[in-house]
Every structure is written in C-alpha cells, then in structure tokens.
Amino acid sequence: MFGKLLKYDFRSMFKQFAFIWPAALALALVNRFTLSGLDSTSTVGETTAGIAMLVYVAILIAMFIIAVIFVIQRFYKGLLGDEGYLMHTLPVKPWQLVGSKLLCAVTTTVINVLIAILSIFLIIPWGMEEFRDIFRGLQYVFSHWNIQATHGIIFVAELILFSLVSFATGYLQLYLAMSIGHLFNKNRVAFSVIAFIALNAIMGTLGNIILPPLGDLMEPAFRGMSGITAAHTGIWLLIAGSLILSAVFFAGTEFILRRKLNLE
C-alpha cells in the first residue's frame, strides 16, 4: 500500500514540475550559446547574454521556491484539506501517508539540486580539450589514490547524507507545524505559522540547554582523536541530531493525524 501511495505522490510531483525542469535545462543550453556574447564588442550580444542569464537564474530560484510551496501544499491540501477525506479513508496507516509525502518531498529537492548541477554543466561550453583535462585529472587521482582521497570521498558521502537528513527535518518541521495549526478550529494557517516559529524557538532553547553540557561531556573523547576522525565523528553527530529531531517531528505529526484529525 505504501508503494501505491508513493506512486500517486510522485505522479503529482512530476505533474507539478513537468514544465520547470525541462525549462531550466533548456535555458541553460540557451546560455551556453549566448554567454560568448559577453566577450564580444556588440551591445546586442551583451544584452542578450545578460537577459538569458537573468531568466536562467530566475527560473532556478523559482524552482526551489516552487518546491517548498509544493511540499507545503501537498501536505496541507492533500491531508488536512478536502482531499484528506479521500486520503484518510484509504485503507492505509497514517504513518504511511506522512512517509509517502516526506519521501516525495525529499526526492523533489534532490532532483532540483541535480537539475541545477546539470544545468551548470550545460552552460559551460565544454570542448574536447576540457573533457580530456577532466579525464586526465581523474586518472591522476585514481593512480595516486591514498588515504586522504578515501577520506575525501567519505566526507562527500557524509555531507550528502547530512543534507538529505536536514531536508527531511525541515520538511517534517513544516508538517508538524501545519498539524499543530490544524488542532485549532479557526485561523489554522495563522496558527501553523505560529507553531513553526514556536518550534524554532523551542529547538533553540533546548539547544542552548543541552548542547553546552553535552559538549563538555564529549570533549575528552574528541581530544584523543586525530583531526580527521574528529571531523567524521562531528558530522555523524550532526546527522544523529537531525535524525532525532526528524523522529520527534514525524512522531508528533503522525500522532495528530491518527488521534486528533478533525477535517473541516
């Protein structure tokens, strides 16, 4: 059943982004050709390049803003609005409804990032020479592989994981804020905003209370580590912290949907 929920959430995502993803890539391609106008002496070429770049940057920004709006709307309209009458009477469990929305939200963000990276590659007018250089560089790295390179790869993987968990935490905070807002009979949107701000304040306060003694507690352990081990450990602690927050937000959202649901 979870897979079927995902199918419908992903379908609505692709509908939402069917225009903007190809548009971002197409505009990147346009820039690839207009960019050379910047070096030329012609004002026309310069203006065209400027406008093309402006539109491209605007569409990238729009892409990320739309993603956040999409995540909020899919949850608010899909689970707490009229569509909730359909979703909450399907033979599924509330955690599956939240999980499906979350997985779709994180995937949307990942695709956005990938599209942004891909578009930058499209803009740069690579020639054969540049590809050869990259290839040579990679060859050099692999032939001179050492422990630093291994650490580098692991760091990248850890940072990607941390980003993914952070996105999930952020989206779950939005979900929980909307669910808390839903507990009120009136002004639910306003209370959702207040709940979001309140969650931030609580996290800040708890952080101030918990983190200093936790730091003191762990300091001796860190002192015994090499710099590179300390860095890995630090990232994993951040990941663990985000995961704990995510779990709390998820549990709170699931509890409200399961026990306190009250659609208008």
Binding site: M1, K4, K7, Y8, S12, K15, K77, G78, D82, E83, G84, Y85, L86, H88, T89, L90, P91, V92, K93, N185, R258, R259, K260, L261, N262, L263
Partner: protein
C-alpha cells in the same frame, strides 16, 4: 465474518467541551438500508466520520465487522462525504485508477457503465465538470465498490428532486446486497420508501432505532410524519410565526 456489522458502545464525541454525540449505543446488521435521520447539527456527520476514521471518539468504542477502526475497516467501507474530495487536475479515470489500486472490491467496468448511464464522460477533467457532474463521479466511485458498509452522508441534500430519485435509483440498483447502506439525511419523505430501518438522532443521542415496518405499525404513521412530530422543536416553518 462477524454477525453484527457495526457495534457502538457508549460512543461520545465532544468538540472542545461541546458534545456532538452523547453515549450512542448501536448495533447494525448486514444486508439492509438504514436511514440515519436527524435535523442539522444532531450529530449525523460526526457519527459517520467516526465510523470511517476521520474522527476519533472522545469516549466509547466502535467496531466494524468486529474490528476497531483501521486499514481493515476502511477497506470494507465505502464512504460518500458531504463534499468534493478530489484534486482538480485529475480526470474521473485517474480516480478509477486510484480506487482500483487501493480497494480490491472496486469494479472498474461497473464504474464505466455507471458513468455511461449517468451521462458522465470519465475522460473529462474534473475541473471542467459542473458541480452536479462531480457529485455523480463521486457517487460512481462509491457505488462501484462491492463494500460491506456504504456510508452516504447527505447524498441527496444538494440536488433537485428529479436528480434525487435518480441518485436513489443508482444507490438501490448498485449496492452490494450483502452489504448495509446507511444514508444520512433530513429529507425523509424522499427516501422513506427505500428504507428497511430508521435511526433517529437527536442532540447526539439515538432516540429511536427500529424497522420502518414496525414504526408504521406501532405509531400508525409514516416515518416522515413521525420525524416531523419528534423534531418539531427544530421546525421554524410551523405555527411559531
């Protein structure tokens, strides 16, 4: 299979401090058409929403086919809410896909046939459909399932009398005969002729639950007439003016 389809024990629901249901006890069998009758605000929608899992009771217990409300009970209940619940970008056929995916008892062929007889083009976008047509799509979704319990919340409230008969006809000819249909309404005269049982709900309490035949026999009047008598306090069209 449990003998009783629905069992409610001391079911209570309060919104804040305000009670909407007050200690409802009810047993409902299989294979019958039941009217859930009461004026606006008597707790009909609250009761149905608890059965489908959209609300949690404050106190008391409710079992459907012997199980508490969850994925299993949702899989055997077909629910027609009192509002539109679909995203505008969808087509009726998208909803058929969705229902076929989630409900094993959804009969797609039957849905297409019902669309044909109701004059609905299922490949049209819902956005382009009139309100009445959307209501028909929703009715098709609900009645094309071979459910054990159909819960229809005010299915005839918003439509004209001709459409009312048509909708009732659709319900009668399409429901699963081993299933039970519960129709909530305050328009009793329109549905009285199809009901096997009637439940009167007043201020969140069941004041009467009997077969329509028994009511007619014992009270010597139609359910509609009895309803008007029982709920006269709510009737502002009468002698008060």
């Amino acid at each position: 299979m449990n003998e009783q389809l629905v069992t409610c024990t001391a079911l209570t629901k309060r919104y804040g401090g305000k009670p909407a249901l007050r200690g409802v006890n009810l047993e409902l069998g299989r294979g019958r058409i039941v009217g859930l009758l009461g004026p606006n605000g008597s707790g009909k929608t609250t009761f149905i929403k608890i059965l489908v899992g959209l609300l949690q009771p404050t106190e008391g217990a409710v079992l459907v086919d012997g199980q508490s409300i969850g994925p299993y009970t949702k899989s055997i209940i077909s629910y027609l809410p009192d509002r539109m619940y679909f995203a505008d970008w969808m087509r009726a056929t998208d909803l058929f896909d969705l229902f076929a995916d989630f409900y094993k008892d959804f009969d797609r062929t039957k849905a297409m046939n019902m669309c044909a007889s109701l004059g609905v083009t299922p490949s049209d976008r819902l956005k382009s459909m009139s309100k009445g047509t959307k209501e028909k799509v929703q009715l098709v979704l609900v009645m094309a399932r071979k459910a054990q319990l159909y819960l229809l919340d005010e299915p005839i409230a918003g439509v004209d009398p001709a459409a009312r008969d048509f909708i009732l006809g659709t319900i009668l000819t399409n429901y699963n005969e081993n299933g039970t249909v519960m129709i909530s309404t305050h328009l009793i005269s329109d549905i009285e002729k199809v009901l096997d049982e009637a439940i009167f709900l007043k201020d969140g309490q069941i004041t009467l639950h009997d077969t329509v035949d028994n009511i007619r026999e014992q009270e010597g009047k139609s359910v509609d007439a009895l309803f008007r008598e029982v709920f006269r306090a709510h009737n502002f069209e009468g002698g008060a003016f």
